[in-house]
């Protein structure tokens, strides 16, 4: 079970969190013309990298904040965690 440092609460076990997928996905702006392909890529397509991955976790059984976690998907090493508004890299 992973040990995730919530930037708001501190170290907490994985069972307090829900996984939220790739944190680098950006929702297209509202009211913006966008091609079918761009939209489909946003809705459906995700990379599944082996190695470093910036991802979202939701501290559902804690502070209810969505946070960003930089994690190695093969070793589970967590390099850093960030608040939702923090810019990463």
């Amino acid at each position: 079970m992973l040990y995730i440092k919530c930037p708001h609460c501190g170290l907490r076990s994985q069972n307090e969190f829900a996984y939220g997928g790739d944190a680098s996905v950006k929702r297209p702006e509202l009211n913006k013309e966008i091609s079918d392909q761009e939209w489909d890529e946003f809705v459906y397509l995700r990379k599944s990298p082996r190695g470093k991955h910036l991802e979202l976790w939701h501290h559902v059984s804690g502070c209810r904040q969505w946070i960003k976690v930089l994690r190695d998907t093969s070793t589970h090493e967590i390099f850093n965690t960030y608040k939702s508004e923090e810019k990463v890299g």
């Binding site: 079970m1 829900a18 966008i34 946003f42």
Partner: protein, 998 residues
């Protein structure tokens, strides 16, 4: 019966306390502190089971967790448990156990015929033989294999025992209480660290219990006892025996299984049988010790062949002799301790040492005691079927290839030692690398990946002096990093006998013309010849050899067999062991009971049960409850002999005719607050929200980004910047996460906060033509007229001194209101409604009547919003704004979502107006059509329409818009029903929606 093999003076068992027990129906005696194994051996019982494949007789091989043979079926306190290792099961008064894997009895086993047919059962036999014809597998082969195989029987009864889970945190977790565990625990604890020390055996001390050493002029056991006593007295230390750390998981999370009362005749009511500990440790010390490995020789599975260390443990811990004419067969010095222990107890062992000579201290001692030692000698084969009666021994050449002067000598046990294998399971599970250590012919941990260190013999260190030194130092160093304290302990003075080198010899060659079986894996019956065959057939990877031959795959996970298997593969392949590599170590280290894994999360404890504040009233008034997510809701209120159908029909009819009240507390409620709340709702819902005035409610639909409907509900503007959102009971948690996602990540610029208020409010829906009259009496000071409180209106009011919110919203299609009060006042509100409602023929109604009312009105709910439908499909397309953008809108442009014959919500009535249509039925054109019969749609919800007094269903139907009036068939293969139906409008009652506005 007399315990013929019990020694008088030695051992740690309590001779004051005699215990009786039964094995295979026969009564025996042992002592408190015995294991089932030691007590049986004391009684001269060596035949305890049969092997897996050949059903060969099986005795005891080890004295603990590594035991591959002695697996029994245990009976305790009216329950039965399979796969219990007799070497680990402590004796208690009245214990009963039976042999497994043999029929009709352990002494006469029909399956043993496999032993004589074994030429037909080589490696990969199952794969080769049972594959064809394919159809035979389920009918013939599998049942046969199942009957012949398997160890013991699982109970079919509900397990009455209690199992618990516990979460714990510590600075230092120490796995194993041998010298390295005790030393590191003591050093760390004295330096202020929070320490958990876990020992899987009942007694602490590990090898110190049996080794002939002295520490600070005390015996190893005395020193261990003193350290444990001191540790137990420290508040920063938790010491646990009977506790096996069996898994090392990510981020230093380890799991430990504590056998709390397995050693007692039964557990107290509030004491668990077992407790599973999830431990998060800052640092882990792996002091799991090492396991002796055997030397492979002919018929080495015969009962009476035991590990030399086990023979010593049986004597020194239990005061029990494994035999009275022992052979000690070794390639190293450690087995001499066993020989000396025999001698001290007036038994004369013969030592066969594969080495040409040894002049170490301990060998000299053995010689001086007059022990018969034969160097360059080996056991060729054990003789005897159910117990060793003699053995063939021989002189072995220097190159270990040739046997000379084979002769038979009498013996009743063979104590074998092929040197020591470090127990590196936990270190390997942690993700750390391993390396092969040439001097000890075994793998040891290499680089750590997590915060752990392996000490003592688990790390390949076999001298006590070095073990204690490194462990004291490491315990201090690790604790210092955590506590910043600087209290180091003096390293004690050790006296031990120095050992000389072991012989790199692990398998006795076969004499010419002999085909003795030489076993590697004793539990799965994998012999040298099986591995040789697998390699001849082209298997190369050790992982493949393992799976093909089942080497190391039994419940003991190859604790005694893996390394010899590797040696064999590397010999045949002309490789060195590290080039072959070892198979992956996976948790659990030992089998863990399913009860322990599940813990308390069984039955009603598997999820929380949530009850509304009015629950007690419902209970008192004959409510029959139904699970709605985690909530318990009244399904109907039973009167007399009514069943579900009669009661719900009565309740629904009364709503249409008079007035009913329904507990709607479970609906999800979310407060949406902030200056940008309207803008946020406008982006979340498909319809327009910017112009909703204060004091008004609006129905809204929200989509996922892929255009599928996520949830629906009404949201009310309480004040300028405050909205009260409702969600369905099922989606409440998801909707909150969804809103938080968009507020925190996508549109952080919006000044809005959301918080769940589901538990803050108790809700009662009051529905029916008389609801306004009832409401007026409940709220005499409030204008609830059609003008004062119009449809979708909201007002705050006073309910006999209690603050209430009244929403004029309707799920039933009738004139209806929803009243909310703070949860603490829920029951007060409910009782007032019931009391005053009497004048209006009010009846409470449950979820079944609620469903009936909404279905015949054509209101969609979870069965239509099933995660596969877009607004059009469910007739909600009128609520989709063309002007503004919102979550999921772009997806609605998809081609598939705009096909002309797109599925849509319709009503369905059986032509006979009698037969109810099972939910989930498929709608087809031709009931006799060729399979697969094209499916046009499915029935999503069914009810008995109280308005029309006939069955009515909702369906999602292809081209539903143009199908009204068509005749189709509803088919339910599950219920074996085919029903002729007519497609009608989904609005079966009050299609213009006049009632809700009346």
């Amino acid at each position: 019966m007399v315990q013929n093999y019990r020694l008088d003076k030695i051992g740690l068992v309590n001779r004051e306390k005699k215990l009786s027990f039964k094995f295979n129906g026969k009564k025996y005696f042992g002592y408190e502190g015995d294991t089932l194994a030691s007590a049986l051996i004391a009684n001269g019982v060596h035949l305890v089971g049969r092997s897996f494949k050949y059903h060969r007789p099986r005795g005891f091989f080890g004295a603990g967790v590594d035991e591959p043979y002695a697996i029994v079926q245990l009976y305790r306190n009216g329950e039965t448990e399979p796969n219990v290792r007799a070497t680990e099961q402590e004796l208690f008064e009245g214990l009963e156990a039976k042999s497994v894997n043999c029929w009709p009895s352990v002494n006469f086993d029909i399956g043993a015929i496999n032993n004589f047919l074994n030429i037909f059962l080589p490696a990969g036999f199952y794969y080769k033989t049972f594959m064809w014809p394919r159809s035979f597998w389920y009918r013939i082969y599998e049942p046969f294999i199942r009957k012949a195989a398997g160890f013991g029987v699982a109970s079919k009864e509900h397990d009455k025992e209690r199992y618990e889970h516990k979460y714990e945190y510590c600075d230092l977790l120490i796995a194993g209480s041998g010298p390295s565990g005790l030393a590191s625990a003591y050093a760390a604890a004295k330096n202020g660290a929070r320490v958990i020390l876990a020992e899987d055996k009942p007694r602490f001390g590990g090898s110190l219990l049996t080794s002939d050493v002295s520490i600070n002029n005390q015996s190893g056991k005395e020193w261990a006892d003193n350290i444990i006593t001191e540790l137990k007295g420290m508040t920063n230390v938790t010491v646990k025996n009977r506790a096996q750390i069996f898994g090392y998981y990510d981020h230093n999370m380890l799991v430990m299984s504590e056998r709390v009362t397995d050693h007692l005749p039964k557990s107290d009511e509030f004491t668990p049988k077992q407790r599973l500990w999830y431990i998060r440790a800052k640092q882990v010390v792996i002091s799991s010790g090492s396991i002796e490995r055997p030397i492979v020789f002919g018929n080495n599975d015969t009962p009476g062949v035991v590990l030399a260390s086990a023979a010593k443990e049986y004597m020194k811990v239990y005061g029990v002799l494994v035999g009275k004419k022992p052979i000690v067969f070794t390639n190293n010095d450690s087995a001499y301790e066993t020989a000396i222990e025999f001698k001290k107890n007036n038994i004369n062992p013969i030592v066969l040492d594969s080495r040409q000579d040894s002049n170490s201290e301990i060998v000299k001692e053995a010689k001086s005691l007059g022990i018969d030692i034969k160097f360059s000698h080996v056991v060729v084969a054990a003789k005897g079927y159910k117990k060793v009666k003699s053995c063939d021994i021989a002189e072995i050449s220097e190159d270990k290839q040739n046997l000379n002067q084979i002769k038979n000598i009498e013996c009743d046990c063979i104590c074998v030692s092929g040197f020591w294998t470090p127990t590196i399971h936990l270190a390997s599970q942690s993700g750390g690398k391993t390396k092969f250590k040439e001097e000890i012919d075994a793998f040891v941990p290499d680089k750590s990946k997590q915060k752990e260190v392996t000490l003592g013999s688990a790390n390949g260190v076999f001298t006590l002096e070095e073990t204690l030194k490194t462990s004291f130092e490491k315990g201090f160093e690790l604790s210092k990093e955590i506590t910043n304290n600087n209290n180091s302990q003096q390293i004690p003075k050790v006296s031990e006998k120095k050992h000389s080198k072991h012989d790199k010899f692990w398998c006795v060659p076969l004499p010419k013309g002999k085909k003795y079986k030489r076993f590697l894996d004793f539990q799965n019956d994998v012999a040298v010849s099986d591995i040789e065959l697998a390699i001849r057939e082209g298997y190369r990877s050790i992982e493949h050899v393992k799976r093909y031959t089942t080497l190391g795959m039994a419940t003991d996970q190859g604790k005694t067999s893996n390394l010899n298997g590797l040696q064999l593969v590397s010999n045949i392949e002309n490789k060195v062991v590290p080039a072959v590599g070892h198979t992956t170590f996976r948790p659990p280290y030992t089998p863990i009971s399913i009860g322990a894994i599940v813990g308390r999360e069984i039955g009603k404890h598997s999820k929380p049960t949530r009850k509304s504040p009015m629950h007690n009233w419902h209970e008192k008034n004959n409510a029959v409850f139904v699970d709605a997510g985690v909530w318990l809701r009244p399904r109907y209120y039973k009167r007399g002999n009514e069943g579900l159908f009669e009661a719900s029909k009565r309740e629904a009819e009364n709503v249409r005719k008079n007035v009913g009240v329904c507990d709607v507390t479970t609906l999800g409620k979310i407060d949406v607050k902030g200056p940008d709340a309207a803008e946020f709702l406008n982006r979340v819902y498909t319809n327009a929200w910017l112009k909703l005035p204060v004091g008004k409610a609006r129905y809204g639909v929200m989509l996922r980004e892929d255009g599928i409907v996520m949830d629906d509900g009404t949201t009310t503007r309480i004040s300028e910047n405050h909205y009260h959102m409702t969600t369905t009971t099922a989606q409440a948690a998801n909707v909150l996460s969804h809103l938080e996602y968009y507020l925190q990540l996508v549109w952080p610029e919006l000044d809005v906060n959301v918080v769940s208020t589901t538990e803050q409010w108790a809700g009662a829906a009051i529905a029916g033509p008389k609801s306004r009259d009832l409401l007026q009496k409940l709220f005499p000071d409030t204008d609830v007229s059609n003008e004062g409180l119009p449809f979708m209106g909201f007002v705050e009011a006073n309910l006999f001194g209690v603050n209430a919110r009244i929403f004029r919203i309707s799920f039933s299609g009738e004139l209806a209101y929803e009243v909310n009060v703070e949860s603490d006042n829920g029951n007060f509100m409910w009782e007032k409604i019931i009391e005053i409602g009497k004048d209006f023929d009010l009846q409470p109604y449950g979820t079944e009547a609620l469903s009936t009312l909404r279905i015949e009105m054509g209101h969609v709910a979870g069965s239509e919003l099933d995660g596969r439908t877009i607004p059009y499909d469910t007739g909600l397309d009128g609520l989709v704004s063309k002007k503004k953008d919102f979550i999921g809108k772009r997806s609605l442009l998809k081609k598939a979502y705009n096909e002309k014959d797109r599925q849509r919500l319709v009503g369905v009535v059986p032509l006979d107006k009698k037969t109810s249509i099972p939910e989930g039925s498929h709608l087809v054109k031709d009931p006799k059509g060729k399979l697969p019969n094209p499916k046009l749609g499915h029935i999503s919800a069914s009810c008995w329409s109280v308005e029309h007094n006939n069955p009515f269903s909702l369906a999602i139907l292809k081209d539903g818009k143009n199908m009204i009036g068509s005749k189709l068939y509803a088919m339910s293969p599950l219920k074996n029903k085919t029903i002729a139906v007519e497609i009608v409008s989904s609005h079966y009652v009050d299609p213009k929606g006049e009632r809700v506005r009346s």
